[in-house]
Amino acid sequence: MNFFTELFNPSVPFIRNAFIASLLSSVLFGVLGSIVSVKRIAGLAGAISHAVLGGIGIALFLSVNKIIPNFPPILGAIIFAVITAIIIAFVSLKAKQREDTVINALWAIGMSVGVVFIAKTPEYVDPMSYLFGNILLISNESLILLAILDLIVLFLSIRYYRQIEASAFDEEFARTRGINTDLIFVILLIVTAISVVLLQTFVGIVMVIAMLTLPSGTSAYFSKNLSGMMISSTALSILFSFSGLFLSWQLNLPSGAMVVIVSGVVFLLFSLIKLK
């Protein structure tokens, strides 16, 4: 079967959905990833992405056991992700001296809670699909939610571009210009947490952080400003995602991992060229 003919074959909608998901994810990888990179919070974003598994596990448990009737797991996961982001933001802003230890503890506790709740969920779901992604799980509902999140991220980053840029470049100066940099930080972590929930079906929790940093890290090598970095890393994300999907189809390998491998190899090549 040819990848490109299957893309338009209505009897295999998951390929088309994967294609649309990679387009919609690329906006988040490019725009949000650039902000995460210049703000140097990849470590925090990594902690959030892993701790979010706790929320996903609890939401699945509550939903499948009908403890809260008609409770969509995705909504539960988003609510818990927001709570996780707020806790991590609070720790980062208030507990500067012990930040590393506390954030790492939250990372591990979040993941462990997720594994325990998923194990206790009657229709046992393999946690591997959350950790490494499962392209078959991409539903129309996930695509709509991804599109809404794209619009929110695009609106916030265009409307508040200068404020985001200033708070990342020189936070102290931004504060003297009346910008609430803590608010930007908290919103950024919340958006990152929600993105992780929506992106995990595509590349998985473990690899979301790679996709938030590798395309933006590659475009940082040639971008003159943050907006250029956002546009070029979105374009790179589309390229990496399509190439990864194509290779996974051709070689019958996991798609999320292939997307990350393609992105990582290109990033390392750029790093080598720049080091010379």
Partner: protein, 261 residues
């Protein structure tokens, strides 16, 4: 030295106390400066100069006492202050052009900027700081002196009522230092200028008021006003050759009778 009398108060500290945990930095500090004055705050490293600046800019709050900048609390007044930080080596990988750094000085909270007005202001600031030819260059590709001038333009772009410079001559070549003090000389009287420096012996001859802070002086953790005398025998590469000596054995009173309230 020219004394400015019957001027409005720009900054006023009243019995200000500040500590970082158990480490006391400022104890019962009271001083004031007037609008239009050129003030130099001197003190050894670790004396508390940067803390005084952070208090003036509203970046930290005092544990006791009261601070007013242009009659308002520092958080509300900072929008009228142009701040040039000591650290010019901001993120070395940040993709940003000189023009974008300068535009940052026009930000006012989460409000939108006015494009036409900002264009004129940016042009003027680039002109004053003599960096028009650098506008499209990447900030991280500039030398230390050029970066400092970009940050001067960023501070001037909003037409601030006060300019605050933290160790402005650090990492600066002689030519850039000359250009900076020439800009400051032009701004004198029109804008209140506060310079912070660790050189406790000599200050720029543009200085109207010198304030000393810290442990190396008689009063611990306090800010004292000293007298100055012109110096002619200093090398010309310091403050572009226009230098004044700080007379540490004098203490001028912090008398508010001279001020319009």
């Amino acid at each position: 030295m020219i004394r400015i009398k019957e001027h409005k108060v720009a900054i006023q500290f009243n019995d200000v106390y500040f500590s970082y945990g158990d480490i006391e930095v400022l104890r019962d500090v009271s001083f004031h400066i007037h609008e239009g004055e050129f003030v130099t705050l001197v003190g050894a490293n670790g004396a508390g100069k940067t803390t005084v600046l952070k208090l003036i800019l509203g970046l930290v709050d005092p544990q006791r006492g009261k601070i007013e900048v242009f009659g308002k609390s520092p958080q509300y007044a900072s929008i009228n202050v142009g701040y040039i930080p000591q650290n010019i080596n901001l993120d070395s990988n940040f993709p940003i052009t000189v023009e974008e750094v300068v535009k940052m000085g026009l930000l006012n909270g989460f409000y939108r900027e006015k494009p036409m007005k900002s264009l004129e202001d940016v042009e003027r600031a680039l002109e004053i700081a003599d960096i028009k030819d650098l506008r499209k260059r990447s900030y991280t590709a500039l030398s230390g002196g050029q970066r400092r001038r970009v940050l001067v333009a960023r501070a001037l772009v909003s037409n601030p009522r006060m300019l605050v410079l933290d160790e402005p001559t650090a990492n600066m070549d002689v030519e850039s230092e000359r250009k900076l003090f020439s800009v400051l000389g032009d701004l004198k009287r029109k804008t209140t200028i506060l310079i912070v420096t660790h050189d406790t012996g000599f200050v720029s001859a543009l200085t109207d008021v010198v304030l000393c802070i810290g442990k190396s002086f008689e009063k611990m953790h306090n800010v004292i006003r000293h007298a100055l005398e012109p110096v002619k025998d200093k090398p010309s590469d310091l403050y572009s050759g226009r230098v004044a000596r700080v007379l540490h054995n004098t203490e001028l009173p912090d008398n508010l009778n001279c001020c319009l309230r």
